[in-house]
Amino acid sequence: MDPLIGMGVLALMGAAAVIAGISEDSESNVGSQSNPNSQVQLAPQMMYPHRIFNKAISGEPPSNALMCAIGGTTAAILMDALGMSALFSITIGAFVAALAHGSYSTMSFFGRPTSQSRFKQPVYMDILRGHISPIMAYAFVTTFSIVIISYIMISVLNHPFPLALLAFIWGTAVGAIGSSTGDVHYGAERQYQNTEYGSGVNAAQSGNIVRNGEAGLRNGIDNSWFCIKFGGPATGLAFGMTVFLSGWITMVFDPSISQMIAWASVIAGLLIVLVLIIFNRMIEVSSRKSYGPYKADNDEVTA
């Protein structure tokens, strides 16, 4: 393949990956999925009933893998069996995945707060009505972007895996990245804006999440508004980096040309990893210098 076209394809995949990362993180913030949801689930038990959407169908990677695999399978069937165009097939596939995700979210929302009725946690129907559309919309965008990435890999880059499996793998990866990066902004910062900035959450504060919003009582959409400022784009950056860099090494050093160039792609990858390690060390040193050792706030609850 012409290297310039290859780079263009890779740039498109990287852009789709950034969008997938952002929408994945926003979906998990609106619906409160994954690790920080442990606090949303815990809050009523600590006598802090709230109006935050509570789902956590499963961990983010399996949940995203499921919806991307549904999207990929539907798209593959429509393309192969009915001969539909790729764009229509992928759009319909993403729509079917969003519907499936919406039904899981609804079931999960009814199940989780209901189990806490003994702690006086109400099931708010207006929260369900207001949140289910953004959850499904974000699920649609994520699935669409992931299936687009998988489709480009198969049709242009001739990847040997079937579409559904590739969508499943990238869905797992975007979920793993979203739950490792963006969730920290939601869990450690947004949920605990009532504690001092610049510290991890004291174990004694567990469950004491902020329940007042910028106006009125806080809900999942308020959380998504806050986290889209940093957590969402950072998730997009991480997933975009993964898709772009892992494809870049085999695009620039094409293994099909010769054995030597194939090994050059491995060396290029190891150099990228080395740069990542050095960069990580640099930001660690800079944080130690600028923040200094931890100083306890006397007003805070001691563990």
């Binding site: 690790n35 890999m153 490792s180 993964t242 054995q259 390690i277 930001i283 660690e284 923040y291 931890y294």
Partner: protein, 239 residues
Amino acid sequence: MIDYVGLMADNLLYLLLIVVGGLLVAIGVHFVPVGGAPAAMGQATGVGTGTVQLAAGAGLTGLVTAAAVMRVADDMLLVIASGMVGAMIMIGSTMLVGNFMYIYGVGVTPASGKVKYDPITKDRQDLYLSQGTEGHGVPTSCYISGIIGGGLGGLGGAMVYFALLSVTNATTALNVIGLASILAVAIFFINAVIASYNIGGTTEGFIDPKFKRVPKAIVASIVVTFLSAIMSIIIIGGI
């Protein structure tokens, strides 16, 4: 009727490769610093997600890269090296951006709660811990441990895929690719779960005292991967 004994005898080398690959995955997962839900709240060192999930994300990314290389090259070393690099890039990017979150989003310094000094950088850790937490972020030792873990996971996953794809069969290449990829993912998850049970929640990688439990995981992984390998070879070789 499938000739089971003949099938195994023909693919003995691949059986061995699958077991070694699975073992590498199980060992690799022990290196990945994961803090689970507490890490997402800045209460524990490591990446804020589950062991299996992060390792699977990294290992499967490696599998995608390995498969792309294997389409054009049949050198086993090259394929597994590509798988290793793909997984290392994924886990490296994730941990780096994770640290962005801790440093710029939460305002904490990466610090380990298990050791007083970072064994690689010799930086003091305990002074930087927030009150009531067991650490936060991914300090350099944990970062390098994660890179090693991701690399071993990718290496193992790619080795399993390579072996499964090479099993003697009487079906089309497309069918074998489909089966081999799904079975490779399955063997990957099985081994990641074994490691996850062994770790029991959170770990900081090779600096964590729980790392000493690796031998137990090795035994469990060999037994389970051996059985999985036999079934996988029968599935691919039998059709």
